[in-house]
Subunit: 367 residues, 2 copies
């Protein structure tokens, strides 16, 4: 008996967890949260039609789901006006980002991202042996000019852009992104993480163009569609690039109930529009609560609002901890200067009432 | 605009799909199957308690599942008499096998398996850049002596053993496997795929020993538990090895409804015992149908029976195609000499009645 020999990359990696879940925090605290406003889930839930479809789908869960996810992909292809071969389904955007890294990255490959944006992408780059090049934000937005510059100078394999951005909520429209795409160096893959695009101004959204093999669009049912637990993300791109995912993805990895729920959710655009309206209203409410407490909400195109606590990272962390002590689950950016903020997910009136009650106490405690 | 630059391993891989699903076959045929006996799902379904739990869980699907799968892991740890840190959950055994390959394999690493056993493992080895060393079967069983010999001579990083074996149904008990484990060369990881262990003689099953860091046990809710669509597999092993999965797994990849269903299924061991009894009876029935048609069923410890069609691979393929033409979904081994057989999953009486009706016609057509 000995220890198994792992590959050298694995030995070098920390056993890092990208996000500790609220459940682990509740176990640690010995007490549940009163308001779950930290994971950017949709407290407005999914379409009732999706709920009904998932309940009915349980009976069929003795069967593997179609590994080609044909029905869901066909519906998404129609929805986006692209071909079936332009769509691949994954276990959330996280799963698909891991695969994209595996496609394009080898040991030491440079990968460009913004310093402080979605950390699970960084986790996958580390796991794939890539070398992360982190570009600072500029005025709380991803700095598209500096990102393309770094991509060029580093000869990066992937450029990651999260739009609308997590954790800042900022948004680049089609004009700016088309500029970026026009400047992409040859060979680099732009991974455009659009988890939050359903809540952005649709008229400003970069149109889907699957003719460009350098651009992948990552979408999800976890946010505005209200199906985070279903783990259904998808990626739109040029057919040959999408086909490459077939070489490495877990073909039977997508659960049946989630697929069926996502299809029903997609088909209920009326509900999505309602949910988006409720999210927009909640953004206003969170902004008002922040301002009532002398804090500055950042403009957000996402289903959360990031609030500048007006101090440094230590102060924001104290506010966060005090909110958690008041049974309010929220999160905050991990990197300065973004970490002067806390991030609050859109919730129902009753969830935001808890925030309104507890934020003054948390600020007092933090001060 | 250019093509993205993929890593050289990816460029070298075929866009191979391990298993075409029955749904794709149905789309191709323009007609549904009458009997779904090809994917080793459980036609006896999951526990009614699991069904009820999944239906109820749909309402909570707006939330991500606990990324630590704490409740399910705790229940599995208790069930197996191991610690919480000896259990990791994955998107089916397939997902976990992919991670195990990523842990232990680097470009060119030798990996030993049996020639003709579960091909999805081979798919993951190819995707991880490993070099597969295939050891022939001996008398339709995985040849443990030759496997350990190849592992030693090739200095393999992983030895894969499927037990009970897919596609042959054969089974090695604790005595033989303990011999194998005692002979494992230092540093190699034994991946013991026990997807079908619930239907084997439990008294002969290798006891779980999480003290040995070289052995990983892969289990699933997809087979006897009847939850293939839920995509919940798990892996038992020594704590430091299990912890290494945290470095690379998709922490939020496990769907909520599936987790909750699996927990309820685990808690209903009475139903599992009934399902196992029905599977055992179906094995007898399939064997009788084979013999009625002059064919030889192989002894099976799994939830399927592999039937020797008495000819070569071409003949068995004709039988398979003729069954499919008769709307019976079955599969067959892909490698000679195993491919003289077809593989039939255990089903209900009505499913096997379809088999009994169609097998004589299929044999006549094949001849």
């Amino acid at each position: 008996m000995s220890r198994p020999r792992f590959n050298s990359l694995i030995e070098s990696l920390p056993a890092l967890v990208p996000f500790v879940g609220p459940e682990a925090q509740e176990r640690g605290r010995g007490q549940p949260f009163r308001a779950r406003l930290g994971a950017n889930e949709s407290l407005f839930g999914p379409s009732p039609k999706a709920l009904a479809a998932m309940r009915a789908a349980a009976d069929g869960n003795w069967m593997y789901a179609d590994p080609e996810s044909h029905e869901l992909r066909a519906a998404l292809a129609e929805f986006h006006g692209v071909g079936l071969d332009n769509v691949v389904i994954g276990e959330g955007i996280d799963g698909l980002l891991g695969l994209a890294v595996k496609l394009a990255v080898e040991l030491g490959s440079p990968v460009v991202t913004s310093d402080g944006t979605y950390p699970t992408f960084n986790f996958h780059v580390a796991g794939g042996g890539g070398r992360l090049v982190r570009v600072p934000y500029r005025d709380d937005k991803q700095d598209l000019g500096a990102l393309v510059e770094a991509t060029r100078s580093e000869e990066a394999r992937i450029l990651y852009v999260c739009n609308p951005d997590n954790p800042m909520g900022s948004f680049w429209g089609a004009a700016e992104l088309n500029d970026l795409i026009a400047q992409l160096p040859d060979g680099v893959l732009l991974c455009l993480d659009e988890a939050y695009c359903d809540t952005a101004r649709q008229a400003d959204l970069l149109p889907v163009d699957v003719g460009n093999a350098q651009v992948l669009r990552f979408r999800t049912f976890s946010k505005a569609y209200g199906l985070a637990g279903a783990r259904i993300g998808y990626c739109l791109g040029e057919a040959k690039v999408i086909r490459a995912f077939e070489k490495i993805r877990n073909h039977y990895g997508i659960n049946r109930v989630g697929q069926i729920g996502a299809l029903a959710a997609l088909e209920d655009q009326e509900f999505l529009a309602e949910a988006v309206a409720r999210i927009a209203r909640a953004r206003e409410l969170i902004g008002a609560i922040a301002r009532d407490n002398g804090l500055q909400p950042l403009s957000s195109a996402a289903n959360f609002v990031t609030i500048d606590c007006g101090g440094d990272g230590d102060f924001a962390k104290r506010v966060l901890d005090a909110l958690i002590a008041q049974d309010v689950f929220v999160r905050m950016p991990g990197v300065a200067p973004l970490n002067r903020c806390i991030r609050v997910s859109c919730g129902r009136d009753e969830d935001l009432a808890v925030l309104a009650d507890t934020l003054p106490l948390a600020l007092a405690a933090a001060r």
